[in-house]
Symmetry: C2
Subunit: 456 residues, 2 copies
C-alpha cells in the first residue's frame, strides 16, 4: 500500500539502545512520509495482528524502543516526518512533526525570537515524538514543566489506524477527557504521536548562573526555598552536584576545569533567566548574602558573562560522561518529595553498604526532587565484580524510594527495563485502570507490546 | 453499611443549579465522612447498578451536577470531607480533601506564606473536588495554568469502589499512564476524586495593576505580546473588557466607579506580581510607554496601591453581575487561538446580526484566548423575546468558533448542557476513545450518567 522504500530491512542501529543492555528484533522498519502513511501502516498491522514499535531518536534509557524477544515487530520510525509545520510567534505556539529533532525545534523557536525550553543531554538526536511519548524531563522542568506540560495539542494515529486530529492551539479547552495527557507518557503503547502543537516562551533577555558550595543536601533545599522566595519564576535550573561527581571528573576528564580549588562535598548550580530590565546580578547577590548569613552557602562563584555560564553548565553536563568512564554498577532515576530528599541521601548510603563497598555519585535536578543516584565500584574493582549484586542494589534503592513516597522512574519512563518495578511499586488500582485502558484502546495488543505493561 | 445521617433525603439546594435551567432528581444524598465511606457507597452502587452523581459546591454552569431525567441517582456530596490534610511549605505542596472550599485552601496556603493561585468568581462556595473534576480555569491561568496544572497527585475512588492511592508530592514521576490527568476534567464520569496534593507558589511580594485603553482587540493582543516580552513570568492576569460591559455596569450598578470619564470601546486589565526587589512600577511604565508609542494604548491608569488594584479587579468582577441584571439571551464560554481572536470578534457580530438585533458583551481572559461572549437583547426587549432564537444564536457562535480552531467550552466543561456540542464539534476519533475509556473504567455506567457522554 506504500511506495518503494517505505518499508525496509532494519539496519542494526535500530536494534541497539544507548546502554547496550539488549539486542532488538524487528521484521522490518517502516518509514512513513506523512500521517496518512502512518495510518495505512497501523490499519494493516491491526488487521494482520502485527506488533508495531514506534521509534523516535532511539535515545531512550529504559528499552521502550527495543524488542528483545517474542515475535519480531515492525519498527515504525518517524524519521522522515521532520517538518516544523507552523510557527505562531504571536501565540507562542509551534507545530512540529514527531520526527523533528529537539535541537531543530529549539532552533525554529529561536529563529522566531522564542524559547522552546525542553532541554536534555540527548537533544541533538532525540525526536519530538519520542520525547512526548516518554514525557521527557531535563534541566528546565523546575521552571517550565515536564514535556507533557509543553503540549497544547496532538495529532496521533490510534491502534486501529484512525487519525485523531487534535492539533489545537488553545490554552483552555475543556471538552471531554484529556486524551492528550493519556498519550503523553504512554510510551507508544496506546497510539503513535505524529505531530504536536507546542508551547513557546519569551526568550530570557538577561541570564545568570552561580556555582554555590552548600553545607549539605538539606542546606541546598533551604537555599532553593530562599531563592524561590526572592527569585520566583526566574529560576531556570537548580542542579545538585556531589563531591563524588567532581572526583570522577578530575579522574577521567581532567580537561574540565573544576570550579573550586578544593572539591566540596555538595554544590549547587543555580541558573536564572529574566526579561530585560531585571537586575539579576543584584537579586542573585542578595540571595547569596542571605544564604551565607543563614549558613547554607560557604563559597560561591557568580558567572560574569555568558561564556562563564556556559562553562558552569559544561561542568554539570560532563558528569554523566565521567560516570560512563568509571562504569556504574547500577543507575537510578528517582524522585522524592523535596523534604524527604536529605533523609533519603542519609539513609541510602548505609543501606547499600550492607550489600558491599561502593562509591555513590548522587546528582541531578534537585529543584524537581529528581536525583540520578548512581552506584559505582570502589577503585580497583570493576562493575563486572558486582554484577551479581546489581539486583540487590536496585531493590535496596527502589524500596527505600518507595517507602519515602518517591518514584522509581522520575523522567526516563518504564519501557521494558522497569515493568517489574511498576508491578512491584505501582498502585494496584492504577495498574488495573491502565490495563483496562490499554485493552480498550488497543484490543489487538499491537502497540509496543511488552513496554510499560507486561504482555498478556 | 454507614452510620445514621450519612444518607438522607436530598434538600432542594442539591436539585437546582446557578442558571436555573434544570430541576434535578435524586433518590437520596450520601454524605461520606471519609474516603472509606466513599468506597463503601460506590461498591454498593456498583453492585446494585445505582447511578452516582458526585456533588461539590454545586456552582457548575453546565449542569454536570444535575440529573433532570431518567432514574433518580444517588447524589454523593463531599461536603463533610473538608480537611486540609497537610501543608508542606518547603515543598510548595498542600494536600486537601475534595470537599474543601477553594477560599479555605487559598487561606491555608496563605497562612503558610504561600499562594494557591486558582481563583474564580465562585471561590467562596466551589469545592476542590468539583474544581478539579471540571478542570476549572479562572483569572490566573495565564501565569499558573488551569486547575489540572496545579495537581501533583490524586486520591480517588474508582467506579467499582476501589481506592486509588495516588497522592504523590512529586514534580517528576514517569511511571505509567497519567490516570491523574484522565480523572481531572472527566466531570465525575470515571470516578470520584476524594483528595488532591496541590502545587503552591511563593506569594508575590510586589504587585501591580493597570487599566489600559486599547484601540482594538488586535491592539490588546499586541500589548500582550509586548508585555510578555518585557514582563515574562510576572503577568498574573490579562483581562479584556468591552465597552458594552462598562455600559451595562453604568446602567445596572452605578455604584461601581468607572475608570475613564468616557467609556472606551476596549480596555485591558493587566495584573502583575513579582518577588520583592523587582521594580514593577518602572517595568510597567516602560511597557506603557512602548505600547503608546506603537499606538496600541491611548490612555491608562496605573494602580498606586493595593486598594486601587483591588478596585480595578472589583470592576472586572462586577461585569458578570451586571450581565445577570441585564439578562443574557445566550452566554458562550469559548476559546480561540490567540491570533484568531480579533478576526472572530470582527466576524461574529455581523453573523449574529443576521439572526436579530442584539447587544454583545465580549470580555474575559484574553491572555488565555478565553472569551465570555454573551448576547443580550437591545433596550426595550427582554430575553424571553428571543427565546426562540437561542439555539440559532448558539449554533452561529459555536460554528464560527469551531471553524476558526477554537473550543466551545474553554473552562466550564461539557456537563449536560454541551453534550450535543461535543458530539457536533468533537473529533470523532477522540470521542470514540472517550467512549471506550468510559466503558473500560465504568462498565456498569453508574458514574454521572448523561454527563459529558450521552447515556447509552
Amino acid at each position: 500500500m506504500l511506495p518503494d522504500g517505505c518499508v525496509r530491512a532494519p539496519e542494526t542501529r535500530y536494534l541497539s539502545e544507548p546502554r547496550g543492555r539488549w539486542d532488538g528484533l524487528a521484521g522490518a522498519v517502516a518509514l512513513p512520509r506523512n500521517t496518512d502513511d502512518v495510518a495505512t501502516i497501523l490499519r494493516a498491522c491491526h488487521t494482520a495482528r502485527v506488533a508495531v514499535v514506534p521509534y523516535g531518536g532511539g535515545t531512550g534509557l529504559v528499552g521502550g524502543q527495543i524488542t528483545p524477544d517474542g515475535p519480531a515487530p515492525l519498527l515504525l520510525s518517524l524519521e522522515r516526518m521532520t517538518a516544523i509545520r507552523a510557527v505562531h510567534p504571536s501565540e507562542n505556539v509551534l507545530v512540529a512533526e514527531a520526527g523533528a529533532i529537539l535541537t531543530d525545534v529549539q532552533s525554529a523557536a529561536e529563529a522566531n525570537g522564542r524559547l522552546f525550553p525542553l532541554s536534555l543531554a540527548s537533544e541533538g538526536s532525540a525526536r519530538i515524538g519520542g520525547l512526548l511519548a516518554t514525557n521527557a524531563g531535563g534541566v528546565n522542568v523546575l521552571r517550565y514543566g515536564n514535556a507533557r506540560d509543553l503540549v497544547l495539542g496532538l495529532e496521533a494515529v490510534m491502534p486501529d489506524g484512525s487519525i485523531w486530529h487534535g492539533l489545537k492551539r488553545l490554552r483552555k479547552d475543556n471538552t471531554g477527557y484529556d486524551l492528550r495527557h493519556l498519550l503523553l507518557g504512554s510510551e507508544g503503547t496506546l497510539g503513535v504521536i505524529t505531530a504536536a502543537s507546542l508551547r513557546l516562551f519569551p526568550r530570557n533577555q538577561s541570564e545568570g548562573a552561580a556555582m554555590l558550595v552548600v553545607t549539605s543536601p538539606k542546606a541546598a533545599l533551604d537555599l532553593l526555598a530562599l531563592a524561590q522566595e526572592q527569585l520566583s519564576g526566574m529560576i531556570s535550573g537548580f542542579e545538585l552536584i556531589g563531591g563524588m561527581g567532581l572526583a570522577f571528573l578530575a579522574e577521567t576528564m581532567p580537561q574540565v576545569r573544576q570550579p573550586f580549588a578544593r572539591a566540596p562535598d555538595w554544590m549547587v548550580l543555580l541558573d536564572l533567566g529574566a526579561p530585560a530590565g531585571v537586575d539579576l546580578a543584584t537579586l542573585m547577590e542578595r540571595v547569596l548574602t542571605d544564604a551565607m548569613e543563614h549558613g547554607l552557602v560557604t563559597d560561591g562563584l557568580i558567572a560574569q558573562n555568558a561564556a562563564q555560564r556556559a562553562e558552569f553548565w559544561r561542568l554539570r553536563e560532563s558528569i554523566p560522561e565521567a560516570n560512563r568512564h568509571i562504569g556504574a554498577v547500577s543507575s537510578h532515576d528517582i524522585s522524592l518529595p523535596l523534604s524527604e530528599l536529605p533523609g533519603f541521601i542519609d539513609r541510602a548510603g548505609p543501606e547499600l553498604a550492607r550489600i558491599g563497598d561502593f562509591r555513590i555519585n548522587c546528582f541531578g535536578h534537585l529543584g524537581d526532587g529528581n536525583l540520578h543516584y548512581n552506584v559505582f565500584p570502589v577503585p580497583g574493582r570493576s562493575r563486572a565484580d558486582h554484577e551479581h549484586q546489581r539486583n540487590a542494589i536496585k531493590t535496596c534503592v527502589h524500596d527505600l524510594v518507595h517507602q519515602m513516597g518517591g518514584s522509581v522512574s522520575a523522567e526516563h519512563g518504564i519501557g521494558r527495563l522497569k515493568v517489574a518495578d511498576l508491578e512491584r511499586y505501582g498502585d494496584p488500582v492504577k495498574l488495573a485502570a491502565m490495563r483496562a485502558i490499554k485493552t480498550a484502546l488497543d484490543p489487538a495488543g499491537i502497540m509496543n507490546p511488552g513496554a510499560v505493561l507486561r504482555r498478556v
